[in-house]
Amino acid sequence: MLFNSLHFILFLPVVILLFYLTPGKLRWMLLLGASCYFYMAFVPAYILILFFIILLDFWVGIKLENSESQKTRKLILTLSLIANISLLAFFKYFNFLNDNITALLDLFHIQNKIEFLNIVLPIGLSFHTFQSMGYTIDVYYNKQKAERHLGYYSLYVLFFPQMVAGPIERYERLGNQLREISNKYLTYNNVSNGLRLILYGLFIKMTIADNLADFVNIIYDNPLKYNSLSIVIGLTFYSFQIYSDFYGYSLIALGSARLMGINLMDNFKNPYLAKSISEFWSRWHISLSTWFRDYLFIPLGGSRVKFARWFMNIMIVFSVSGLWHGASWAFVIWGALHGLTYLIERWLKDLFHFQEKTSFTFWGIIDVLKNFVIVTIIWVFFRGKDMSNIGDIFNAVFKNFRLVDDFHVPAKVWILLGFFVLSDIILFNNRYDKWCESKPIYVRWITYSLLIFAILALSGVNNNPFIYFQF
């Protein structure tokens, strides 16, 4: 079920109503049932994969807590991680691996006889497995007590607002809140803030991301047909499309959970107002970057190692992060380029002793723009269909050099984008629901009216699915 569907618009109020009408002790069952229904609206059979992950890691958690031998604990965790990663690898990376094996064998004129799989990736599999693995690792390091109620654990993995595209929550945060759902009461504050988040989320997904998507798709479908300025506009639009698409999803997730009194973590904090790549990653897809920091970078030794090892750790984390997004070398290059830029920034900073600037000074703005340009260029590897398409994009920028927009972007789209950029600046280090709380009622209702109008009358009409659903 998609958040921007009629199905969800009917589903959410029914679930919220039933949630508050259901006796506290039975609420986990209601939410679990609703979450299964939500997931099964995509491909029903894939729920079995999720149940496999749930049962495995639930059992692993208890075993880890019960075992006293460090050796046994290590073995159990290793087996659990192998099982989770294998599942992900099978669905997501099998064809990629096979493709590479074929290419490798071709060099020696050997035919690869392994058949390619014709399967659809279960929606949100990368998110579930990471959330579940995070839990077992936390139990292993004794940071988290093992959950002994299968229902609550299942709900932690399946909780419908965040199950298909995050935020990737830690058990400490989400699991413990779900444990308390029997004590949640309907409060005006939760409902109004939840609705504000959903409203703003729908606005940026439906009016910003979906309108920009049409132009981005045109550019990437046939880059050589367009001139430099059009390509630059298309690339810039993609930066805003992916941000508003994913941030929009996250806000709707946060808002839906908030209606039930559950607080999910912020996944974005104005990433395009970052002045460096390191700051960008502390503001973009925060739940994933902190996951990689805590469960990969630190176990690899983090920063407290020799320079060469640290360099390698950074490159490993960013490249794996790229691979997490998609099974292709373009994604790996996308991650690696971020890693490389991060390292260059650190090196320059150490060399010239650059001082951190505040965002809204002249040099701060220059840094923000510089960072935006870098991120936008690197996004090409994320969005490109394949390496040849990526090559065509860069070729088109230089070959068809004409500073005339043959793209004909309507004024409406520019105005909406301008409004979004302005609101992102106004909401710097803040969130729409919190911003509203500090404003007088008439200001709040003016913004509600504008957002409602934009959603009703100006949304994109080509029904683009959420980009991160494919991961």
């Binding site: 618009i9 409602i452 109008f453 009358a457 949304s459 029904n463």
Partner: protein, 350 residues
């Protein structure tokens, strides 16, 4: 508690008021541009309906003409020749079906002078292939946009939701195949029970030419005929039946004369390629429609077998595209039935 309820009530009223204002602003400043983009057919319809006595709603059978035609006018224009004092307005678009016709008719204002509605009834539009066609997604979107049952801004909003059967080509084909397997042909003493079986068997053997070689062009055409026409209309579940039922109800309530115009199909070719089994199914479906809607007081013009093979100008796909002579034959047949309403205006033309 009372205070909270009052607070919620005030906000609900405010949201409703915002919705009304949004609808007003949308109609005033954005609707016309959207109408051209997402509902051009309604735009055409609104222009036509102003000065029309009879409205003729059709798919591509009222669009097509052969390059060899001397008179390239549309079928509805030939009909109009028989009633020179009347104005027959036409709205046509390729692949549209009864659902769209229904929404268009619902949009006719009470002040319109129209008194007769002619709606094309295309046999293929009742089949699984057309119902699940890839053209259906844009059609459904267009239908939602022109739906007069909701405020215009709501229709625009629904357009932006992922409400439509926006499915991949692979899944769409799966859906069609499933239906082809499920629907039984119910032909006595015939070796195939479903379209799926018939299509599969014929695809395997192919049609052979005089030298015993597989004739690919002929095989493909035969398969097209089977997939397009080999089905039995289930009046309980077929969505097009529901739409035609609603159209007849609507016309009855508005006091408009209603004519269902069963378009001519290339029965000759169907029988020649696929045998009597296929032409019989097509004829039985036709009888079913004639019987059902005659009973409802609708005039059903039966053109099914009226046009000979050589008058169809598409030779590699089954269509309802006729040359000038074919169009004139159908036009006359329709005109003769229209005479029942407009005897004084009728002029024997050809």
């Amino acid at each position: 508690m009372y205070k909270i309820l009052l607070k919620i009530l005030i906000r609900l009223i405010l949201v409703f008021a915002i919705g009304l204002v949004c609808n007003f602003v949308y109609i005033k400043f954005f609707y016309n541009e959207d109408l051209i983009k997402h509902g051009d057919i309604l735009d055409d319809f609104n222009n036509v309906i102003k000065e029309t006595d009879i409205i003729y709603l059709a798919e591509s059978s009222n669009l097509a003409n052969s390059p060899d035609d001397k008179d390239k006018r549309k079928l509805s224009e030939f009909i109009n020749d028989y009633f020179p004092s009347l104005k027959i307005g036409r709205v046509n678009k390729g692949a549209i079906h009864a659902k769209t016709f229904l929404y268009l008719l619902k949009n006719i204002p009470d002040t319109a002078k129209i008194n007769t509605v002619i709606v094309t009834m295309n046999l293929r539009s009742f089949g699984a292939g057309w119902i699940n066609s890839k053209l259906e997604t844009p059609l459904m979107k267009m239908n939602e946009f022109i739906n007069p049952d909701f405020p215009k801004v709501v229709n625009r909003f629904v357009l932006s939701l992922t409400t439509f059967n926006n499915i991949s080509e692979e899944n769409r084909l799966k859906l069609v195949k499933k239906q082809w397997k499920k629907d039984k042909l119910a032909i006595p003493n015939f070796k195939y029970n479903s379209v799926y079986e018939w299509d599969k068997a014929l695809f395997k053997t192919g049609i052979l030419d005089a030298n015993g070689n597989r004739d690919d062009a002929k095989t493909n055409l035969t398969l097209h005929y089977i997939k397009n026409y080999a089905f039995r209309i289930d009046t309980l579940t077929n969505p097009r039946i529901k739409d035609f039922d609603e159209i007849s109800e609507l016309c009855k309530s508005k006091g408009w004369n209603l004519v269902y115009n069963i378009v001519a199909e290339n029965i000759e070719k169907a029988e020649q390629l696929c045998g009597k089994e296929l032409s019989d199914i097509m004829k039985e479906n036709r009888y079913l429609l004639v019987k059902r809607y005659n009973k409802n007081g609708v005039i059903v013009v039966d053109n099914l077998e009226l046009v000979r093979d050589e008058l169809f100008y598409d030779k590699d796909f089954p269509t309802e595209h006729y040359n000038e002579e074919g169009r004139r034959i159908v036009a006359r047949n329709v005109a003769m039935r229209l005479k029942e309403f407009y005897n004084e205006s009728f002029t024997e033309k050809y």
